[in-house]
């Protein structure tokens, strides 16, 4: 069973990272400051269950974009593998390679599976200020769906509207 105690909890600043998205391009978390980011850790490209989860998020992408949120998939697969997987599944969002040193970002977020050498199946919704607002650890065989992500994004929107006028815009 996943160890839910070590996954980073809401209220924690999201550890910054920079990871390859293609063999010659990197994505840095803090570049998205100002809008929400959905981080979806998944165990591996190509496994049928993962395919389902990334394919589902691909279909729901326009709903995430309504909240100006960026979706980033992360696994320990390398960028070449991600490229082939994304092309075959026609994914319209980046897949980040937590490949070298292996699983370093997953460890920082408390979602690395030491024994298997993969990440957990875990979700984080990070607000525009870089703070984790929702996290969820799913049993590794269960695709968590997108309902929790959308609720978290809505609650971030609600806070922004109720909060300081410097938010939003």
């Amino acid at each position: 069973m996943p160890n839910a105690s070590k996954i980073l909890q809401p209220g924690t600043p999201a550890p910054d990272f920079s990871l390859p998205v293609t063999p010659d391009q990197r994505v840095t978390l803090s570049d998205f400051r100002g809008r929400p980011v959905v981080l979806a850790f998944y165990p591996a490209d190509w496994s049928p269950v993962c395919g389902d989860q990334m394919v589902l998020y691909n279909e729901v992408l326009s709903e995430f974009h309504k909240h100006h949120a960026e979706l980033l998939g992360i696994s320990v697969d390398g960028p070449w593998c991600h490229g082939a997987f994304a092309a075959q599944r026609k994914l319209h969002f980046p897949l980040l390679a937590d490949f070298e040193p292996k699983g370093a970002v997953a460890r920082q977020y408390g979602v690395y599976r030491e024994h298997e050498g993969t990440t957990e199946r875990a979700l984080f919704v990070i607000d525009g200020e870089g703070v984790i607002r929702w996290s969820y650890l799913s049993p590794v065989g269960v695709n968590p769906g997108a309902d929790g992500i959308l609720e978290a994004l809505e609650s971030i929107d609600a806070r922004a509207h109720a909060g300081s006028p410097s938010d939003g815009a």
Binding site: H92, G145, E151
Partner: protein, 186 residues
Amino acid sequence: MTTQQGTLRPAVSVEDHVLGPADAPVTLVEYGDFQCPHCARAHRVLPKVLKRLGDRTRFVFRHFPLGESHPDAIHAAEASESVAAQVGEEGFWRMHDLMYDHQRDGDDSLDDAHLIRYAGQAGADPSTVALDLAADTYEQAVKSSFMSGVRSGVNGTPTFFINGRRFEGDWTSVDAFAAALESAAT
């Protein structure tokens, strides 16, 4: 964020496509995609399962077309709504069965020309269905069904809900699936 994940929202209503008695103790909801091979497989399992339960189960179908993976799935869902609007619920279920039964005939077995032909066989006026597809008359209805699935925690197709809770068990086996429904019935 207090709602439990994997809870059917909204609940089954008169807006739904329903087979079976309204007062059945078990409600089985499927979110399905007419171009999804796993859903076609479920379509071959379900009649046997539903027969075992008899009038203790009502079955509800909601649309969850994965349009990026299955380019004909959205029009297939819209065509079934067009048939339902013209000839009622019996027509919807005939169209539902025809599309799953013919899904694997060939690469084009769910293109518009075929959908219009099946609609005719299901009792609808083919030219009205053709117009509805061209005008995207039922695009919103299908989209709203899809979004209800997203909000309910649908995590692929098919996803089943038994009495409002996402079913994580094995639907590929008649025995296992029927047993899960039996336990919900008591």
